[in-house]
Symmetry: C4
Subunit: 303 residues, 4 copies
């Protein structure tokens, strides 16, 4: 059985499961539109993807430049025009996405559907609200458009793989962060008592902010211990944070080493590390070890 | 050989050993109270646990908000009332815990017993002491109540697992920290001599505090070398600290990878990683995936 | 099966492939020149290498000292003379390199060929340009000569191995950095909205610079959040950055562990780790220690 | 063959090799003195060790406190007396060490012999020099006595193991640090050109100091980029440093994982990880894998 080509480099937007979930159209203009927007195997699909990435990056760049005072003073009006062009382009794209799907509402409620909508709303709301709200609020809504960049994550299979890898150790890291938070709470309170408001530790929340910046080895230096006892406690916290920092790294390292050993084909480093065993011809089970000669689930010989 | 069910997700407060140690009651109201307070399989037990977690979190939040000057000015009296309600609730809970155990004194001397008591004492001591001591001392005692949050650690099996993992590499990390401390002592002294009091390095302990903040890559910036030699030494220390930082991470990573390989079922990441499958009866091959039903080398069925 | 000698410690400048690519001469003075310049097995070749390293280091030292104002005021003219001596030496060396190769143009376009040229150009351009350009531009060109130090990388096999190891995980780290950049873009924008120009976050690019310095745990402290919400977001970013920092470390650790397991002889840590012993002919057991002469499972002699 | 007890927890000062090298005495008072000073199996030997550790720690504490101005003003004279007592005690100990060895000069030239002498010299030199040198120089000599603390490293087998582990990956980390130094040199020079003396980057060495503090994620904040280009370069450096930081950690992690696998009995984590296979009864070879049944060197069956 020859190993069939793997779609690891593929940039299909919707995995097979999503095709069913959102209702891939079966014929006519909607199928053609679908294949351009949601697929990237065809030349038109790939061109659409690259164009969309370029527009997203350019629109984010415009928002960023618009925030720099001297540039805004000079090009502000042009940016306003661009702003509306981008918004109309993204609106048309959003409508097209919904139009070609069999179950548009289900897509609209999915993660990327919400992100797509969030990228549109601020500019429209900015028209309605200015008469009611103050200027700063409008700007907050506008800046939400930066979320557009998250749409990019859909275009690179590598991004999705990385998110998967982070999600795998997410729970362990969360538990660890919770543990760190408890330590930081107690030590921050201790520093609040030791240093007190006269040295900048004006409240327990501020002291916790300082404790986090110390234990994560960020160390801004806006708050620093000034008493001898405070410096001694800070020294212990730095050494403690240094040692404890090893834990999340160890979790992820072990996860990565495991991926290499277990050869899960869709895993973060899987394929690259172990050379990609084909799925079982008998039962379709995947993720066989690199030295496997028989399917571990149904026992039939592997290619 | 059927795989036996694993209690990894269980949230029983007392492990089997502790049931014997503290004397689990065998019948009557004490058994019912015990099952509510110390166990979480029943509906009442789980409700009690969730309620207690909520009260602990809320009481810690009150202590934190009470330290913020503007909030305290406005809500201080209400916080005082909450303070007493929490203290009475925790006192009743503490008495109930002792009452339903066969060996209450042994529990009172255990780690959680002491934590439980420490969470109560400050508020009561604040009544007795004010006539004698100054106000600031009382506040120190008050803030000890933040230790209440440690009671939470009992409610998550994950927390206990993490503590176990840290404890396993504790000795090695301690030796390492000791080694780092020696290096920091010598280099701090060197910087004290090179930079001297005129650049803020007023004594060897201060210079050691600086050396720790540099080698742990915290770098507050309250003390910085100003001479050329001082900056050269600081550069070497930063590179040294960077390289040496790898050691505790390596220790914990190796520990985690080992856990995965040895398949200790109760270990930190154990079960999930390798599943501790028995070797193949046919060919003796080891290291089967956790979901394997057939040997990957010879194809015969696994136990 | 006698273990064949490994060329891991060899310092031949051009790997066998490059000998063909650049056209190694076959006889006469060009072969002699080639063996001195490009090879290091002969005494003359090794002496040439060491001399060149010394000259490169010395020329970089001169550029560095030339930038220190008091030293420049006193020794500036001497540095100018050295500058020209170094440039002439490197020019002659560059000509000699091209002269002895069969395909000099191909070498000139290779990575080291370009570096060699970049190390020469600034000093020459500084003669032509001064009449046209301002002084500061010239200095920029001059400082490019620091790139000379990259020529050193050719002289240590270890350097090349390290570059290989970094290149192996380069793509994964790049994807990760891209992911981090997206997070930093969104969180930086959020901080720009929350803190605003009055607290130093004058534009989104500045806020992104701050977000990067926070999530990488650098924490300069030139910009710090001053509002309560800003500090809360900063705390979350620090914890997030701390957890996420584990990812590149995990990638590289897994890569290194894999190198050790696969026993690739030319790999970064390869040979030293497992030694690539053949499996036992008697029982097929693998993973023998590098110094094993008998199978640890069945006791029969190993190849 | 029962596994014979392992001396892993032993604190014998001289390993068997050193006994031959330095000439362990064979009888009389020198043997008794030797067993007290260099060995720790006897009660007298252990008491001597603990006493020496206590004296070393106390003497270091006195030097540290002596540097704190208010404490020195009050207790300075007492510290001077202690100073002399410690020096005399260490002098007597040094003489005793040399006296009981067969080859005292060889010991005096060994690492610990030099450390022992360095711990004595400053106080004596402080008598001779004051007439000639200025006061500050004398203090420098005095502070060298902090090296005394290094004598402690002899008393803990764990310390020695850690040093061994660091030494094992020393060469790789050094190569890596050299690589980082090249990057830092080029980027520091670039920042010197971009930011220039007006923003604090007064010379290339200062810019390199800043580049190191940035790439190691220390980030003191005494020097910060102020131009937009400078901040962009700094952002790239921070991300680069973050990714590159993974390399030494990966090196050490892989080393630690390997130690666990190869079961080198004297290695850093060796014994603890693999349960300690006994040495071969036939040839005395050590470090057998945990699953070994036959000696890998001579092929005879293991106990």
């Amino acid at each position: 059985m020859p190993p069939k080509p793997l779609p690891s480099g593929s940039t299909t937007h919707l995995p097979p499961g999503d095709e069913l979930r959102f209702g891939k159209p079966t014929h006519g203009w909607r199928l053609r539109l679908y294949s351009v927007i949601f697929e990237s195997e065809t030349r038109a699909g790939r061109a659409f993807d690259l164009l969309l990435i370029a527009v997203i990056l350019f629109s984010v760049l415009v928002v960023m430049l618009d925030s720099v005072q001297p540039i805004r003073a000079r090009w502000g009006e042009l940016f306003g025009v661009f702003e509306w062009i981008f918004t109309i382009v993204f609106t048309l794209e959003y409508i097209a996405r919904l139009a070609c799907l069999g179950r548009p509402l289900r897509y609209a409620r999915s993660f990327y559907g919400v992100i797509d909508l969030l990228a549109l709303l601020p500019t429209y709301l900015a028209i309605l609200v200015p008469g009611l709200s103050v200027l700063i609020d409008v700007r907050i809504l506008r800046l939400l458009r930066v979320f557009r960049i998250f749409k990019m994550s859909r275009y690179a299979a590598e991004y999705r793989a990385l998110v998967t890898a982070l999600a795998a150790s997410r729970r362990k890291i969360m538990v660890f962060v919770g543990f760190v938070f408890m330590v930081v709470l107690v030590l921050g309170t201790l520093m609040y008592v030791v240093e007190g408001p006269q040295h900048g530790f004006t409240s327990i929340p501020v002291a916790i902010y300082w404790a986090i910046s110390t234990m994560t080895t960020v160390g801004f230096g806006d708050l620093v211990p000034k008493t001898d006892i405070g410096r001694a406690i800070a020294s212990l916290m730095m050494l403690l944070g240094w040692g404890v920092l090893a834990v999340p790294t160890g979790i992820v390292s072990a996860e990565m080493v495991r991926h290499g050993r277990d050869a899960t084909p869709e895993g973060f480093m899987g394929r690259g590390l172990l050379g990609g065993m084909p799925p079982c011809a008998g039962c379709g089970a995947e993720g066989h070890a690199a030295d496997a000669r028989f399917c571990r689930r149904c026992g039939s010989a592997l290619g």
